[in-house]
């Protein structure tokens, strides 16, 4: 895209444009973001970690066939000591076995699928709901805003873990229910942020301009206002993923998430905690525990890195806001 000269309206901006080399102007904001992200070692490491864990999750069937151990297959002869204690990491079981003689490595890979699936799907759905509610509340104002904001407050002032376990206890644990519960309690933060931003944008000139050109409300909301909210949406959604992953692991840990014997990191940790078995078999808590920590840490670091890269003014105390 060629930059029209009219844009350089004042001598001041012209000077700035001249100082920055021409290629800066030609680069879109996405490539600038990527350039900033690439300079941040923490973000790069976290992207690498996420890619590795995702590859590990996708490779779960390969790992199972390579080791020859299924995720729910029990090796009571080779995987348990004569006293029935799980065996530690060895050539046969690289990350040890659990209380039923199942291969921890294979279960870890299948568990990664669950964590990533739940974390990403729940966050995407929750963020879509949060965005729609926030935009509608902020844009329309009046009684619609009152109702939606109060509803948001209401969901926020519910003891979510207690309600979640009551709900799951009655309806019976399952993957879709876990996702639904996580979505239900996760959209509120983003809705609040978006509402605030929309209220700030609603009376800006470009919205007035769109309105005077005869644009419909829907068109203004989604074509004029929404693109300005990309930064908070991306950052918040990224930061929602680790909380969703921990939420799922917590539900599974309490026996209210993924139904055994399907492996998830949460129920692997529950197996470890059951009867304090991990005191004898440390790998049962260290392996899924560190995997969980690595994944949440990676997403949290990436979220922070994205925020700095997408909105440099916020982190360097510039003229933002």
């Amino acid at each position: 895209m060629k930059t029209p000269a009219v844009k350089l309206a004042t001598p001041h901006t012209a000077a700035i444009a001249a100082r920055n080399s021409a290629d800066v102007q030609l680069r879109g904001s996405w490539s600038l973001t990527w350039a900033r992200l690439r300079r941040d070692p923490a973000s790069l490491a976290s992207i690498a970690a996420i890619v590795l864990i995702a590859a590990f999750a996708l490779a779960a069937p390969l790992i199972a066939s390579w080791t020859g151990h299924g995720p729910t297959e029990q090796f009571r002869e080779t995987g348990l000591s004569p006293a029935g204690i799980p065996v530690g990491p060895s050539a046969e079981f690289l990350l040890g076995t659990d209380q039923l003689g199942r291969d921890v490595l294979v279960r870890l890979a299948y568990g990664a699928q669950v964590s990533l699936l739940v974390g990403v799907v729940a966050s995407l759905v929750a963020s879509a709901i949060g965005v729609v509610i926030g935009v509608v509340a902020g844009f329309f104002g009046g009684w619609i805003d009152t109702v939606l904001s109060r509803t948001t407050d209401l969901v926020m002032s519910v003891p979510f873990l207690l309600c979640a376990i009551a709900l799951v206890a009655v309806l019976g644990p399952s993957l879709p229910l876990s996702i639904a519960v996580i979505v239900f309690f996760s959209w509120t933060g983003l809705a609040r942020v978006i509402r605030g931003q929309v209220i700030a944008l609603r009376h800006r000139e470009f919205v007035e301009a769109a309105r005077s050109l005869g644009a419909s409300r829907t068109s203004i909301m989604f074509r004029d206002i929404l693109p300005n909210l990309v930064v908070p949406i991306i950052v918040y959604t990224t930061l929602m993923i680790p909380s969703a992953i921990v939420f799922e692991a917590t539900l599974s840990f309490l026996g209210l998430g993924i139904v055994p014997p399907t492996p998830s990191w949460g129920n692997m940790l529950a197996d470890a905690a059951n009867g304090s078995l991990y005191l004898l078999a440390w790998w049962m808590v260290v392996v899924p525990g560190l995997a969980l920590l690595a994944l949440t840490l990676a997403f949290n670091l990436l979220g922070d890195g994205l925020r700095d890269a997408l909105d440099p003014s916020a982190s360097k105390g510039g003229k933002g806001a």
Binding site: S157, P159, L162, I165, L167, A169, V170, P242, L254
Partner: protein, 321 residues
């Protein structure tokens, strides 16, 4: 001012009302039959019908709900289906444990999080700041139950295997009976909970302090020749406090749900572990009581925060008029 408080109280009551309807309807549609739970598997149809009449389960749902609320207002929470004990008695036997856990953890997380946040903000970009930020992001990413199990393994199991009795494996000693034993038994759960939450406070304090320290009146205070210590704590920290108070209200309110996992890991018989056992045994009156108690916790904590704001900040008082 009065109107502001009344509207907040009204909102709190609305939350509790909706919460009670939610749990009530939830268990009404539940496939499990309370009469079957009480009478056991071998009960005859007549016996079960008798039990239903006795519990009022033969009446339409709105009548059941009104009876339930009526009893609730008279302080009667009903009887546990499993142990036949009054629910209030069950709760009161568990509350001291949970309260002790929350109390110590709150003190500890404020004592850890706020100084880290302040010292980070005083020297942004320094090594100290980086360490503080690193602590914060790891803490935010750490699932409490993983940290708890690791703490037990490293600080209880390994030392005791080596013959050193550093910490007990969990359990609870009442404060009145043995204050030192009380603290000694709770140290590990306190630290576990506090480290995770302190991370949030470290970040929040840092952000707030950075903002405040950049303002003109701080420069004025410096120009007047005030000591750095006095500026940090008297001038800056005081204006950085309101968001921390809000966050503290939210966190303390949600703690009743938040401690569930910690109580499980450390074998503390508090409200959280009561919730988990009641859920697995489908003990409806106990679950309802705990969820409502959790809601009450949140509502009261939010109310206290709102009141603090109204008393401290004249803008809130006038805005509500």
């Amino acid at each position: 001012m009065t109107r502001y408080i009344l509207s907040r109280v009204g909102f709190g009551l609305l939350v509790l009302f909706l919460l009670s309807v939610f749990v009530f309807v939830l268990f009404y549609v539940s496939p499990s039959d309370p009469a079957r739970i009480i009478a056991g598997d071998k009960a005859t149809e007549e016996l079960m019908a008798q039990i239903r009449v006795k519990l009022g389960l033969d009446q339409p749902i709105h009548v059941q709900y009104l009876n339930f609320v009526g009893n609730l207002l008279r302080g009667d929470l009903g009887y546990s289906y499993r142990s036949s004990l009054p629910v209030s008695e069950l709760l009161f036997s568990r509350i001291p444990v949970t309260m002790s856990l929350v109390f110590g953890a709150v003190v500890l997380w404020l004592a850890i999080g706020i100084p880290i946040g302040i010292s980070s903000a005083k020297h942004p970009g320094s090594l100290r700041d980086r360490l503080g930020q690193g602590f914060a992001i790891v803490g935010i990413s750490f699932p409490t139950f993983v940290l708890g199990m690791m703490a037990l393994y490293l600080l209880y199991f390994l030392p005791s295997k080596a013959g050193v009795n550093l910490f007990p494996p969990g359990g609870y000693v009442p404060f009145a009976q043995d204050p030192i034993g009380w603290a000694w038994h709770l140290v590990l759960p306190w630290i576990t909970l506090a480290l995770v939450v302190a991370a949030v406070y470290a970040r929040l304090t840092r952000g707030q302090m950075l903002e405040v320290l950049g303002q003109d009146y701080i420069r004025t205070a410096r120009a007047k020749g005030l000591g750095e210590r006095r500026i940090t704590y008297r001038h800056a920290f005081r204006s950085a406090m309101p968001p921390l108070v809000t966050q503290l209200g939210i966190d303390i309110g949600l703690m009743l749900g938040g401690v569930i996992v910690i109580e499980q890991v450390f074998g503390l018989l508090g409200v959280g572990s009561l919730a988990v056992t009641s859920v697995s045994m489908q003990d409806r009156p106990v679950i309802i009581a705990i969820v409502l108690l959790g809601g009450l916790f949140v509502v009261v904590a939010n109310l206290v925060v709102d009141l603090c704001y109204a008393l401290l900040d004249s803008r809130v008082r006038t805005a509500a008029r």
